[in-house]
């Protein structure tokens, strides 16, 4: 009897609690709710047919080893993980990258990078595997050369075995007349490397390029596992869909107001669209050039570079030269229309990836929203290209609205991927 009274009391409390807290679906109109649902769940990255081992576990393990291996670098001290640090959400927390030299752009997170179709801020590569190759040979980044990488792999029996278990046999690097210790095309890292490269036969250059592209493909296989979902926001959306009113309390009221602004009057989701919170495209925000900084034409330059990239998805090193990847290259917009445009970053985990913008000019989300709240922009300085007028749709945000948006953006933080992916295991 006593138990029954207790149960009745509990039910009464629960009922009154429920009555006091209406279903959060009533906070949003039908359009807002539909827009919210379009942002979650994140799902899985699309298949990458240009990389036959993109989802091969052995390739991912090999890629993980290469990602953290400083021996591949020009000075023996730098690896991919130098800038893409797991503990910092795979960024370096610096305005611009610092590796062998000082770069000009902010290091983007690798979390959920597998959902992208263009890579780098200017989209100068069209696959995740070719992105890695550019970093290796950039004198300001890892500063190495493709022949050095092949020799490191060839000289390490375990690494070589792991490589050959996934790909075909490595070129016979022991013959240094055919495969010099250091060589790469291009003169940006010195004429000697280019001369060594040009001294190789065409067949051997192709074999070296094939192995180099395989290194990139293994790294992509690893990076595709760096998916970070199940954020507070994802759990909230699941609760909205299921009508779970208890779980709907998982985010604060300010975040709910910010979410409504994000999908509604703020027009944020026009560019930060879909489950990855990016349209994957390029926009000119009208950011002024910074004093003393070189002009950065962004996508204007990226279009030419991806077309000319010998490792692009229509190249002989791609495992599928047609399909959607081929369409992307075929139908790129005129470069002039993209002057000063940069890729829309994902907002997932944005609270972990400061500083912001392509050049890391804003240290906090407050500063970012200060910029967007200025309509028209008031920052002085020379601008490249035409500021996209879509930005005019963003209303003048009040301080309270900015705080609501930040509260919402903080709900996009997810747990890091499993620990076994966060180091050179």
């Amino acid at each position: 009897m006593r138990a029954m009274i207790a149960l009745v009391c509990m039910l009464a409390v629960a009922a009154s609690h429920g009555a006091a807290r209406p279903d959060d679906r009533t906070l949003y109109d039908a359009d807002e709710l539909a827009a919210i649902y379009r942002h979650s769940p994140l799902g899985k990255p699309a298949a990458d047919p240009t990389n036959a081992v993109a989802d091969n576990p052995a390739a991912a393990q090999l890629g993980q080893r290469l990602f953290y291996d400083v021996r591949l670098s020009g000075n023996g001290q730098i690896a991919c993980a130098t800038c893409h640090q797991p503990a910092r959400a795979f960024t370096d927390a610096r305005p611009v990258a610092q590796a062998l030299g000082i770069g000009t752009r902010n290091t983007p997170t690798l979390l959920n990078a597998a959902f992208a179709t263009w890579f780098f801020w200017d989209g100068r590569t069209d696959s995740q595997w070719s992105q890695a190759l550019k970093v290796f040979e950039n004198p300001a980044e890892i500063g190495t050369d493709r022949l050095h990488i092949l020799h490191v792999i060839s000289d390490d029996p375990a690494l070589r075995s792991a490589y050959e278990a996934v790909f075909s046999t490595l070129p016979s690097c022991s013959d240094l007349r055919r495969f010099p210790q250091h060589a790469r095309p291009g003169t940006d890292a010195g004429a000697a490397l280019n001369a060594a490269w040009m001294g190789m036969t065409a067949v051997d250059r192709t074999a070296a390029n094939r192995a180099f592209s395989n290194v990139g493909k293994a790294i992509e296989a690893y990076e595709r596992r760096l998916v970070s979902d199940d954020s507070t926001f994802d759990r909230y959306v699941a609760a909205l869909k299921s009508g779970d009113q208890v779980a709907q309390r998982g985010i604060p009221a300010a975040a709910k107001r910010g979410l409504r602004l994000f999908v509604g009057a703020g027009h944020c989701e026009l560019c930060h669209a879909g489950p990855a919170f990016t349209d994957g495209q390029f926009h000119n925000l009208g950011l002024p050039m910074r004093p003393g900084a070189a002009a950065d034409a962004g996508r204007y330059t990226g279009i030419g570079r991806v077309r000319a990239d010998p490792f692009n998805t229509t190249s002989t090193f791609s495992d599928s030269a047609g399909g959607e990847a081929g369409e992307r290259l075929r139908f790129m917009p005129p470069p002039d229309s993209m002057l000063g445009a940069f890729k829309t970053p994902s907002l997932r985990n944005v609270a972990l990836t400061a500083p912001y913008m392509h050049d890391g000019r804003f240290g906090t989300l407050d500063e970012v929203l200060d910029f967007y709240a200025q309509v028209p922009p008031v920052e002085p300085g020379r601008r490249l290209g035409q500021r996209e007028r879509t930005l005019d749709l963003i209303p003048r945000l009040t301080p309270a609205q900015r705080q609501d948006l930040i509260a919402f953006l903080q709900t996009l933080t997810s747990p890091l991927p499993p620990a076994q992916l966060l180091g050179p295991h």
């Binding site: 879909g274 495209q281 075929r330 139908f331 917009p333 996209e388």
Partner: protein, 148 residues
């Protein structure tokens, strides 16, 4: 039939810069949308379009062009330039265009437009410029983006 009706409803003919439509003049059994160019010289029929249009994916459209003075015979001696953009309800000028370039291929009396890609949800304006010798005329069609 239900799908055709849905497509017709989904693809709204734009009013801006274009003359009223003469639906009875159509020689196509079921154009999904049609519009007369701004100067009244041509009728553009959108004879094939995906429904719904996919967000951030390339898609293809098929167009036919008619001289409004001989409305039943599709023209083959015209060239088309096709672009698209969004006005976001603010006048006639695009706030932004597509992040792709279109390629128009002629197949007899049909014009196949490849490389269309809408990267934002909302109303897009399809702008078709018809060139016939020294004559040019333009029509706008509104396409709604996008399906799930």
């Amino acid at each position: 039939m239900r799908l055709t009706v849905a497509v017709l409803l989904g693809l709204t003919v734009a009013l801006a810069g274009s003359a009223p439509l003469h639906a009875q003049a159509s020689a196509d059994p079921a154009p999904v949308a049609q519009v007369v160019t701004a100067q009244g010289r041509y009728r553009i029929a959108l004879v094939a379009a995906p429904h719904p249009i996919p967000l951030s994916k390339y898609f293809t459209l098929k167009l036919a062009v008619y001289d409004t003075r001989t409305p039943t015979r599709p023209l083959t001696d015209v060239k088309l330039d096709v672009s698209a953009g969004m006005t976001h309800g603010a006048g006639h000028e695009f706030m932004h265009g597509m992040e792709s370039s279109t390629v128009v291929e002629q197949s007899n009396d049909r014009f196949v437009v490849r490389g269309m890609m809408f990267h934002m949800a909302g109303s897009w304006i399809l702008r078709v410029r018809v060139h016939q010798g020294a004559v040019s005329d333009t029509a706008d069609l509104t396409l709604q983006c996008c399906g799930e």
